[in-house]
Point group: C2
Chain length 312, copies 2
């Protein structure tokens, strides 16, 4: 299992390749929530998302032979861009398997970081077989977007930075998709101070994390459909045990809450966040008693939105 020391080592290792992102607050949002919230703004991270941390750390852990052959993954989201850029910064090739129906914006983003795109049919089987083919052919190392210890350790560095600035947090909330960010957050927070309460926040419409946590076993999502499109993925066999062991609870929120919280952050904080990033604030707003008078850290996971398709 990823350790606190792995995260400390990752932070040092990836420093040259990532931004140290700002921690912001909003008097007005504090008034509305009756809490004191510090937002760790990974929307300002390179490629616009925390995924740059995990991708950079996973690449930094490869040996020279592996580096020569490059890296590969399947992703249509922020990890695709992150791996492409992290590979580019190390001067190695990245092979990104993407569903052929991904948006042009996403193809362009990966291409702009010199990623080699391999389109596949839009289903899990095609994705995995295409990835296997490319790994066979190129010898590239497959890096899973979240079910990978070095990726998890990288994601935890966001919380390490947050706690180095604000060390009196009562609670931290991270959005929950595949569990890479939440796992890293848990290990970083509990390693820093085991009294810090850590919640995962998840859309009801993609609540495999909540159901798995309560059932004590992984229950994958079946056709989840939420505006928080970064949280559609199901837990992995590396992330689930960490969440099971350390997480205080998983809070689920409905779609309207996500949109309201997203709009509130846009309007009051003047920062662009993607819907997935609004899920933790939505959880605060749906559970006022739980968070009243608390000092809370929230990980803003990313800011990649299609400006043509805003929900408000």
């Amino acid at each position: 299992m990823t350790s606190f020391n792995d995260i400390i080592a990752a932070a040092e290792r990836i420093k040259p390749f990532i931004h140290r992102t700002p921690v912001l607050g909003s008097t007005q949002i504090n008034q509305i929530t009756a809490a004191t919230i510090f937002f760790k703004c990974e929307n300002f991270q390179k490629v616009g998302a925390f995924k740059m941390r995990g991708a950079s750390n996973a690449i930094a852990m490869l040996n020279n032979h592996q580096l020569d052959k490059g890296v590969a993954t399947h992703s249509s989201g922020n990890f695709a861009q992150a791996l492409a850029l992290a590979a580019k910064l190390r001067g190695i090739p990245a092979y990104i398997v993407m569903p052929e129906n991904s948006s042009q914006v996403k193809f362009n983003a990966v291409r702009s970081y010199n990623g080699n795109i391999i389109p596949c049919k839009p289903n899990l089987q095609a994705r995995e077989s295409t990835l296997n083919e490319i790994v066979q052919k190129t010898g590239a190392t497959f890096l899973h977007p979240y079910n990978n210890h070095n990726v998890i350790a990288g994601q935890g560095t966001a919380t390490l930075e947050l706690l180095s600035e604000i060390n009196n947090l009562d609670m931290i909330i991270a959005p929950l998709g595949g569990g890479g960010l939440l796992s890293g957050t848990l290990i970083a927070a509990k390693g820093f101070n085991d009294k810090i309460i850590v919640y995962g926040a998840e859309p009801i419409a993609a609540d495999d994390g909540f159901r798995s946590f309560k059932a004590g076993k992984i229950i994958p999502s079946v056709n989840p459909n939420t505006i928080a499109d970064g949280l559609l993925t199901s837990l992995g066999d590396l992330t689930f045990p960490i969440i099971q062991k350390y997480c205080d609870d998983i809070l689920t929120v409905d779609e309207n809450s996500i949109i309201s919280a997203m709009k509130l952050i846009w309007e009051r904080m003047k920062i662009i966040i993607e819907p997935s990033s609004a899920v933790p604030l939505a959880a605060v707003m749906e559970n006022p008693d739980l968070f009243k008078d608390k000092t809370i850290g929230i990980i803003i996971s990313g800011g990649n939105v299609d400006l043509q398709k805003l929900p408000f």
Copy 2:
């Protein structure tokens, strides 16, 4: 005329009432423009705009008798909110004359800061006569949104902060509407180092500043119509002489450039800016030779946009 020392004094005076806003950059925008740009982010200022600086300074300069009676202005824009909040923070009344056809969003914003709204017919004559009535009735001090030396001195403090962080700027560009921000920027920049070149940037569709500057006399706008709705106002008899004396040039930009520059800042920097704030970057992009290899400061004037009416 407002002096450099007035701005230094204003900065000290308003410190408790404003935010020191961040200065941000974007590697990608630097690559696109072949320049190094530092954005002074007044979209993160209280009320979401630099206007909070001038309003706070003008109120701080009132004597006790004047403070008792409160302040009044006519504005449907950011100065209305700024004066309302600045007055609230000093515990004095603010009377805001607003055209009755202003959007509900704007009424609500002023009301949320406890401003007393006095609606008037949407024309200049009604605005002025309504304002005169309220001043007569209440004894409040009229504070003009930009044609006021204490307001100008307050607006200049944004540039003072920018230069205290980045002291090697070749150029500074500020958007030009009524000229309050540009006047303050000019006095702050030239007072700091008279070698810094300062440009005003203005929509072609509201180019009274450009035409006045070239003609050597104030030529008011006639029904200007631009997406940069913070820049519809015409120069004042206090702002024009400052601009005439110190400004290196006024650059005009078309509407498409404004929208492109705004979108670029939203997408690459993940910050929300209003169209008026995009005008300086639009000027850089329309004049690549002028700005190539230069280190440039840009004042991002505000972030108050109607999310229901985005131009992209």
